[in-house]
Amino acid sequence: MIDRTVLKERFVKWVLVAFALSSLLFLFLIFIFILAEGLPLFLKVGLNKIIFGMKWAPTKGHFGIFPMIISSFLVTIGALVIGAPLGLSCAIYLSEYAGKRTRMLLKPAIELLAGIPSVVFGFLGVIYIVPLVRNYLGGSGFSLISTCLVLGVMILPTIISISFDALVSVPRTYREGSAAMGATKWQTIYKVIIPSAKSGILASFILGMGRAIGETMAVIMIAGNALKIPTSILDPLRTLTGNIALELAYATGDHRLGLFSTGVVLMVIIMILNYIANFGIKRKIAK
């Protein structure tokens, strides 16, 4: 006869295995259900007509999301142009220059920035950034540039915390070796530390891009949501996420399927970005 404790141990183990598998199950469900709703339209209308189609009029049978794909990339790259230099500088300052007390103060403050809900960013963008752009640069203010400014700030915590981790994990001996050769602190940083932390820093940029391309609420409040490819930084635009959020509440039939097709495209882009980021981070650890 098997002891009761042994039975209990075995039972616990299998329960824990089931728990651990739940994450995979959820991922699978998300994947399957978005694909199941999103793919039929690709077959019905045609991949080309959706991905490269210029016209989105789902109630009249036009499901082109090309302008939204371009817009999503534009806001993401714009956000990176603003967020990456600022974020990396902050990370360098925190890891190399800041004293222990400054670091203890600044790092949590930046992490708190990550906790502020995106609706609040969107709201402040509408109240402060949009009028600023309208008055000084022209246009309606609901524009590519406003969106990039707000998203650039929103991705800062991601970029700072991940590049900070990469910079801090550069071995002390590298710094000492460089200092011993008479290099100034800045020479050490940009000739030794940044190159050794390169893959981690790149991963932080890519994860920042992932955050920017997936951002929804702030974007629909600021971007203006027009259905064409923006030709200047002052033009309004609609992203993939915005398209879903704006229309999901009332869409039915093929219209709803079209929104899931938009979701499929978004999911594929995010998966590629995450894959690249994880690959980058893994290579860093392997080194």
Partner: protein, 278 residues
């Protein structure tokens, strides 16, 4: 002409300094604006009364209750699942293909943007499982969203528990599960709590995934099948539809203040936890 490297060094240092404080400045400005504009509209009645006329008048009581219901119920579901996963990953297996798969699942879930959770929750819970826009659909969607955070923080906390504690427990003839239950998890509690607090913060601030699963009914959700709106959703609707700027600012204060407090508490607990074993 060659510029003196020491001059460059000083110049760069100053530049980096400015940028770091600029970033923190943004945080302070955001919080300051919300507080200065919003506090005049927050009072006892605002917090404890029901909204009238779509939120133009009255308070935000139902949305506060909705937020608390959503956050607590999701935590109640996600904590056992996440903690169980973390225990399995740290105590029951060595790194293998199987753990790699699970880690892949967790990482991927963490990377999915909230609007895709919204799409999924909408089609799966609201439509296919016929829950309709309801607290239940919101809670289930939120549970999946916060699961990766709970798993990661719990895993780190459990890994930080010194080996000696486990060895002593085994030497007293405790079984594996007894050791985990009575020694490892209690020792890792602060780290686990940090994950829980961060997850509550996330649930409180989430909008895109919630608005399509829990809906946006202004009534107080009294059962799991009732629709309701959280503070974040209420704030979004007030601001976007231009219903009332004063009420929007007022809601924003309560929303941001609760998230800041929750997150500060989370980091406080984390620092305590780090101090404990280092």
């Amino acid at each position: 002409m060659r510029i003196n490297p020491r001059f460059i060094n000083r110049f760069v240092r100053m530049g980096l300094n400015v940028q770091a404080y600029f970033t923190v400045g943004i945080l302070i400005i955001i919080v300051a604006i919300i507080f200065f504009k919003g506090f005049p509209h927050v009072n006892f009645a605002f917090i404890f009364s029901f909204p009238e006329d779509m939120g133009r008048e009255g308070g935000i009581f139902p949305s506060i209750v909705g937020t608390i219901q959503l956050a607590l119920l999701s935590i109640l579901l996600a904590t056992p699942l996440g903690l169980g996963t973390a225990v399995f990953l740290t105590e029951y297996t060595k790194e293998s293909l199987f753990t790699k798969f699970i880690r892949f699942g967790v990482e991927s879930l963490a990377g999915i943007p909230s609007i895709l959770y919204g799409l999924f929750g909408f089609i799966f819970f609201v439509i296919k499982l016929k829950m309709g826009w309801s607290l239940l659909a919101g809670v289930l969607t939120m549970t999946i969203m916060i699961l990766p955070t709970i798993i990661r923080t719990s895993e780190e906390a459990i890994r930080a528990v010194p080996r000696q504690l486990r060895i002593v427990s085994y030497s007293l003839s405790a079984s594996k599960w007894e050791t985990i239950k009575k020694v490892v998890i209690p020792a890792a509690i602060p780290g686990i709590l940090t994950g829980i607090m961060l997850s509550i913060g996330r649930a409180v601030g989430e909008t895109a995934a919630i608005i399509f699963t829990m809906g946006s009914s202004l009534r107080l959700p009294l059962s799991l099948m009732d629709s309701g709106r959280t503070m974040a959703v209420h704030f979004y609707i007030l601001a976007r539809e231009g219903i009332s700027m004063e009420k929007a600012y007022g809601t924003a204060v309560v929303l941001v203040l609760s998230i800041l407090l929750i997150n500060i508490l989370a980091y406080y607990i984390m620092n305590k936890a780090i101090a404990r074993y280092s």
